[in-house]
Structures are given as structure tokens and as C-alpha cells.
């Protein structure tokens, strides 16, 4: 599961069944990175992936992908909750449980579904009962692991960060951000944690190029490696 240049930072794919967090502020390409990683992985396998989007519609994601040159693969199913939320607006839907049902329905339909992404955890939290929040997060991550899925959870940094203990519970954290330097504003990608895979620790330059996203070298100084 990769994009061009990610192998500069991460020496191997995270072990299958890992739960990864992709964190960052607005405009740091979190959704694009995850969609690009999933699409590229699916190009070279016969597997299926599910991208569950609570905020943006499927069409909106597809347009964004096209605009920055990310090729969508037909085995990447983008499920948005728009219709469900519009039609059931007068009902209190439990989004944790609903998302597990969505996942099981796709697994039932596409037996070789191995990848899952949730965009975003913040929206999932906002639309779920506040009681037993940490328990819900723990149960949700356990449900993902029980199904053997490699999962990527998008978490926008802000008010809710860390409340669900997701940073401790996840197997890996990819942080995206923006740095203002003397030669302009740069986006970066940094692996903060990755169990079971060696990785660089530095912030690496993340760019949008005609064919999609690419990870370039470290923004500051030479790279150093850490074990996962």
C-alpha cells in the first residue's frame, strides 16, 4: 500500500490487519493520500477496498481525485452516508454500529475485501452517542481487527484528538501537516509510529504532481531510521 516515494519513508507495507491513523489539519491531503494509497494497492491485487465517507460525497471524492491526478480503481468502493443521513434525519442513528453493518454488507458482497478507511473519526465521534465514547472506539477498532482488515482512520487534528485513545490503540500513525519556511509553504508527511515496519522519523516533503501525490526527501537534514 503505497504512493510514489513513500518507500523513502516506510521500508515495507504495514502488516496486514493493522489499524493506522492518518492525522493532520485541514488541507493537508489526508483524504487524497488515503484514496491514493488504497487505489494504488488495488491496482496490483484482485482485492477490494471500502472507503467510508461521513463528510464528503462519493462524487466529491472522485472529482478531487481526478483533479489531482489520482487514478480511481473500480475495486475501491466509496460509500458516503449522505442518502442515509438525509432520509433518516429524524432518527438517531448509531454510526459506530451502522458503520460495522456497512462493512459487513460489503464483506458479504466482496469476499476479498481487505482494506477499509474511515473519513473521518471526528465525524464519526460527532454523530455518535457521547456516552461510553472510549469503549465505542475500542470496540470499533477491535471489530476492524477481528475482520482482518488493514484499516486507515482519518483524524483531523483539533478538539477531539486523543479523546478516544485512538493514538494508543492504533498500530501506526502517519502525520500530515504544513510547514512555512524561508522558501515557501510545504506539505509534509511524517511516520510517527508504525508497528512491524521500519520507517524514517523525519518530516518528508509531500507534493502534488501531475500523476498524483509523491513523497520527496526530508524537509530538514538527512534521514534516520527507526524500527517499528
Amino acid at each position: 500500500m503505497s504512493i510514489e516515494g513513500l518507500d523513502r519513508v516506510l521500508e515495507a507495507d504495514p502488516p496486514a490487519g493493522s489499524v493506522l491513523l492518518v492525522t493532520g489539519g485541514e488541507g493537508t491531503l489526508k483524504s487524497s493520500l488515503v484514496l491514493a494509497m488504497m487505489s494504488r494497492y488495488l491496482e496490483s491485487s484482485a482485492e477490494h477496498g471500502l472507503y467510508a465517507s461521513l463528510e464528503q460525497t462519493r462524487d466529491s471524492h472522485l472529482k478531487n481525485m481526478e483533479s489531482i491526478g489520482i487514478r480511481w480503481h473500480e475495486n475501491l468502493h466509496i460509500f458516503d452516508y449522505r442518502d442515509m443521513r438525509v432520509e433518516w434525519k429524524d432518527h438517531n442513528l448509531d454510526m459506530f454500529s451502522m458503520t460495522k453493518d456497512v462493512l459487513d454488507t460489503y464483506i458479504d458482497r466482496y469476499r476479498d475485501l481487505t482494506l477499509f478507511a474511515m473519513d473521518s473519526l471526528n465525524a464519526l465521534y460527532a454523530l455518535s452517542p457521547k456516552a461510553n465514547h472510549r469503549r465505542n472506539v475500542y470496540d470499533f477498532l477491535t471489530a476492524l481487527r477481528d475482520r482482518g482488515l488493514t484499516s486507515i482512520l482519518i483524524l483531523e487534528t483539533g478538539d477531539e484528538v486523543g479523546k478516544g485513545g485512538e493514538r494508543f490503540l492504533s498500530d501506526g500513525i502517519i502525520e500530515l501537516g504544513v510547514i512555512e519556511s524561508y522558501d515557501g509553504v510545504k506539505r509534509y508527511l511524517q511516520i510517527r509510529k508504525m508497528r512491524g515496519a521500519r520507517h524514517q522519523m523525519e518530516k518528508h516533503h509531500l507534493v502534488v504532481k501531475p500523476g498524483g501525490l509523491e513523497v520527496l526527501g526530508p524537509i530538514y537534514g538527512p534521514a534516520t531510521t527507526s524500527c517499528g
Binding site: H77, F79, S97, D101, Y106
Partner: protein, 129 residues
């Protein structure tokens, strides 16, 4: 003898209660929801909300939204369903069967009826003794 009458007779004989019947129906409806959705949409266009209510009305089984909307989207992507907004309502998508969807529905219902009748031909023999 029809499937329904054999089923009804067996239920009468075994004194199944309302809860048991609902449980049996639920066990049948959930794994076969694709066919039931196709069959209902073959009668008239519906949105996801109406479809869930209609399945509940017919079978007394309340399907999760998370079990129905993914099927609608997948079937639309596979060219089995067509989704359209109705005039004056750009919020709700209504689903209808495409010509391919009608073929798929007929084939799936045919397969199910064949399988059930085949099973029942043995089960009827077991009960008659």
C-alpha cells in the same frame, strides 16, 4: 402444494409462537435481502427509507440502514439498478430496476425457488412419517 402452504402447515403442527416465527423469518430475510430488494423494486421505484419500511411491513424484519444502502449503491454500480431524483425532490434518490436488473431478479428468484422446492421435497417426506 405451494411452499407457503407447506411452511404454514409445519408452523401450525409445531406450535411455533410469534417470536419464533419472526426469528425464522429474520434468519431467512437477512441473507436473502438482495433478492427481496430486487423483487420489491421490480414492483415500483423506492428510496432506501421506503424500502426498509416495506421490508418491515411485509416480513416484520427491520433491516439496518447499513445493510441496505451499500446493496443499493453496489447494484447501481453494477448496472442492476438506476438511481434518479424525482421531480421537485433533489434530496432523495429513487431506485428502479434496469433491463439487466430485471434479468438478474428473474434468475435469482428462479434459483431460490428451485433450491427451496428441492429442499422441501425431502423435508416434506421427513414430516409425513
Amino acid at each position: 402444494m405451494s411452499l407457503a402452504s407447506v411452511g404454514g402447515a409445519l408452523i401450525e403442527e409445531t406450535n411455533l409462537g410469534k417470536d419464533d416465527r419472526e426469528e425464522i423469518l429474520s434468519r431467512f430475510v437477512k441473507p436473502n435481502k438482495d433478492i427481496l430488494i430486487l423483487s420489491i423494486l421490480g414492483e415500483r421505484p423506492m428510496c432506501g427509507y421506503d424500502l426498509i419500511k416495506e421490508i418491515y411491513r411485509r416480513y416484520n424484519v427491520l433491516l439496518s440502514q447499513g445493510a441496505v444502502y451499500p446493496i443499493l449503491y453496489s447494484m447501481e454500480a453494477e448496472g442492476i439498478l438506476r438511481a434518479e431524483y424525482s421531480r421537485g425532490n433533489m434530496k432523495t434518490k429513487f431506485y428502479t430496476l434496469t433491463p439487466k436488473g430485471k434479468e438478474v431478479m428473474k434468475r435469482k428468484i428462479g434459483n431460490m425457488v428451485y433450491a427451496l422446492e428441492y429442499l422441501l421435497s425431502f423435508l416434506k417426506g421427513s414430516c409425513s412419517g
